[in-house]
């Protein structure tokens, strides 16, 4: 079976052909399995955004290949067009892309570009709106009349309505309050559970990633520095710190507890997990 997305020796330069030429991503080889939820982490400028912009052909590789569903997306015009619909990319602050007169029309923009039938478009818009929690009475309103959080949901619905096989979020929770953050994480988890599609999340928030991802890819210096399960990656805290990253705060607290001789596990990545362990510990039970 082919991978959802595969990159082969993918390299991209910025300011190519000038003295300032730098490799934004250098010789990246990745395989993303179908149905997987992958988190990509890395400090600012590590090449994360450049990498994901290759997945739907917004950027053309200077060398190497991007395969979506086993097919080179740069083979011809049609494969490139299809890659845009197979791989949905939801950028940081997606609410800044809203433009239509009504929320409904804006969510329908993607499916319309796919040249689907009116009935199919309607079905998809309503489905995406329900999924993202866009209220039905908002569909007829102007997107510019919504609140910040509502705009974000409408914009995410605009990408989801294309029903891509792979959905990529770049910093989906940026600028949201804690509740908005939590809701969004739930939304993404639910989406994946119900549709079974592949999801890739780029984030700075180690907690958010830890709570969702099956696998984590760490980008550093334009290449993949580490990849593996949440346990595997977060157990290498010192290496992460040397790349300007960190482990989740709760993991660090538990590491300090262990250092004080308290018998708690090291693989705690979410606050809920930590809360449960501490509760049983306080009741006198064994933590591990």
């Amino acid at each position: 079976m082919s991978y959802a997305i595969e990159t082969v020796n993918l390299t991209h330069y910025y300011s190519k052909g000038t003295v300032q030429q730098v490799a934004a991503i250098n010789d990246v080889n990745l395989q993303i399995e179908k149905g997987e939820l992958v988190g990509i982490i890395g400090h600012t400028g590590s090449g994360k955004s450049t990498l994901i912009s290759h997945f739907n052909g917004l950027l053309k590789p200077d060398s190497g290949k991007v395969l979506v569903d086993g097919e080179d997306i740069w083979k011809n015009k049609e494969t490139l067009r299809q890659s845009r619909f197979k791989v949905g990319l939801c950028f940081q602050y997606p609410e800044y892309q809203l433009f239509e007169e009504t929320v409904y029309k804006d969510i329908a923009f993607g499916p319309k570009n796919m040249k689907l039938s009116e009935a199919e478009i309607k079905e998809r818009v309503l489905r995406a709106a329900e999924f993202t929690g866009v209220k039905p009475e908002h569909l007829g309103k102007s997107p510019f009349d919504l609140s910040g959080g509502e705009k974000r949901r409408a914009a995410i619905a605009g990408v989801m309505s294309m029903e891509p096989q792979v959905l990529i979020f770049d910093e989906p929770a940026a600028g949201l309050d804690p509740k908005g953050r939590k809701d969004l994480v739930e939304l993404i988890k639910n989406y994946r559970k119900q549709t079974g599609s592949t999801v890739i999340i780029v984030s700075h928030s180690m907690e958010d990633i830890a709570g969702m991802a099956d696998r984590i890819i760490v980008m550093n210096n334009s290449t993949v520095a580490m990849q593996g399960s949440v346990d595997e990656v977060y157990s290498r805290g010192d290496e992460l710190r040397s790349m300007g990253l960190n482990v989740p705060e709760i993991t660090e607290i538990f590491a300090k507890l262990r250092a004080k001789g308290i018998n708690v596990p090291a693989n705690v990545y979410t606050v809920e997990q930590g809360e449960n362990i501490l509760r049983t510990l306080l009741k006198g039970g064994a933590a591990v």
Binding site: R84, F85, Y96, Q97, F99, M162
Partner: protein
């Protein structure tokens, strides 16, 4: 594509031209542009061309940068040259067919206008290469300040210009971002007829306007928070003072002007 525009591009340096008072540079540039249009013979125009080359050399701006500023006008140059050759008549006829005549005068005029346009662009781009946009608007504000008598808000105009220049790169970045977001939703910006392409710009243009207004409001707030109230009673950190070199430059302009007038009288006019 948009990045090729060199207007307002500053080339950092410490040459005499860089250190010249920006007000004087503005006066010099405008003076020279007027003088370019005074030229009537190849000799007076040659003097201007030499002046432009001389200025380019002492500015220490690489020749490559100066040629880059000429790139956008290549088409205009060719167009005017062809028109001049076809429509100007007089002197020896070199070629005549299909109602088109190529004459000595036509070729002369074409060459003359081409040199004129190139000098014009070189001189004005030297101004922006050697002066930062902030210095330039500052200079414009000072030079226009007498207009205050007519209740024209010179300071506001200059501030608007500074801000507009400052936001060009920001908006270009914004356009890039919005274009990518809409392309990711399958927007087709590259194919189709004229009407279709114009329509395809709507999803780019509207978010751009929205964000431009949002930025403008934010900036206005930030400026108000830092007690900005306009030009009234505002003092400056960097005072501009005319130095010897500025007067020397002014003298240079006068000398060039006199030279041009002299050569105009002495030699036969081309146009």
């Amino acid at each position: 594509m948009i990045r090729d525009i060199t207007i307002g591009q500053y080339y950092p340096g410490k040459s005499v031209l860089h250190r010249l008072d920006p007000r004087m540079k503005l006066i010099l540039t405008f003076g020279l542009i007027v003088v370019i249009f005074l030229c009537k013979s190849f000799f007076s125009l040659g003097l201007i061309a030499l002046t432009a080359v001389f200025a380019a050399i002492i500015s220490r701006v690489p020749a490559k940068m100066i040629l880059k500023s000429l790139k956008p006008i290549v088409i205009i140059l060719l167009f005017t040259a062809v028109l001049n050759i076809i429509y100007t008549e007089g002197g020896t006829v070199y070629f005549e067919k299909w109602g088109i005549a190529i004459t000595e005068k036509g070729i002369n005029t074409a060459i003359f206008t081409m040199i004129r346009i190139v000098s014009l662009v070189v001189i004005s781009s030297l101004l922006t290469y050697t002066t930062t946009p902030t210095m330039l608007t500052d200079a414009i504000e000072r030079l226009l300040s007498p207009l205050k008598i007519f209740k024209i808000k010179v300071h506001t105009l200059a501030m608007m210009m500074t801000l507009a220049l400052r936001f060009i790169p920001t908006l270009i970045e914004e356009i890039d971002r919005i274009m990518n977001a809409q392309k990711a939703r399958g927007a087709d910006l590259e194919s189709g007829g004229l009407v279709q392409r114009a329509k395809a710009l709507v999803p780019i243009f509207i978010p751009l306007m929205v964000s431009a207004f949002r930025r403008a409001y934010e900036l206005a707030f930030a400026m108000t928070c830092r007690c900005y109230t306009g030009g009234e009673g505002r003092t400056r950190m960097k005072q501009m003072k005319l130095k010897f070199r500025d007067f020397a430059a002014l003298f240079f302009l006068v000398a060039v002007t006199a030279g041009v007038i002299f050569l105009n009288i002495k030699f036969e006019a081309v146009i």
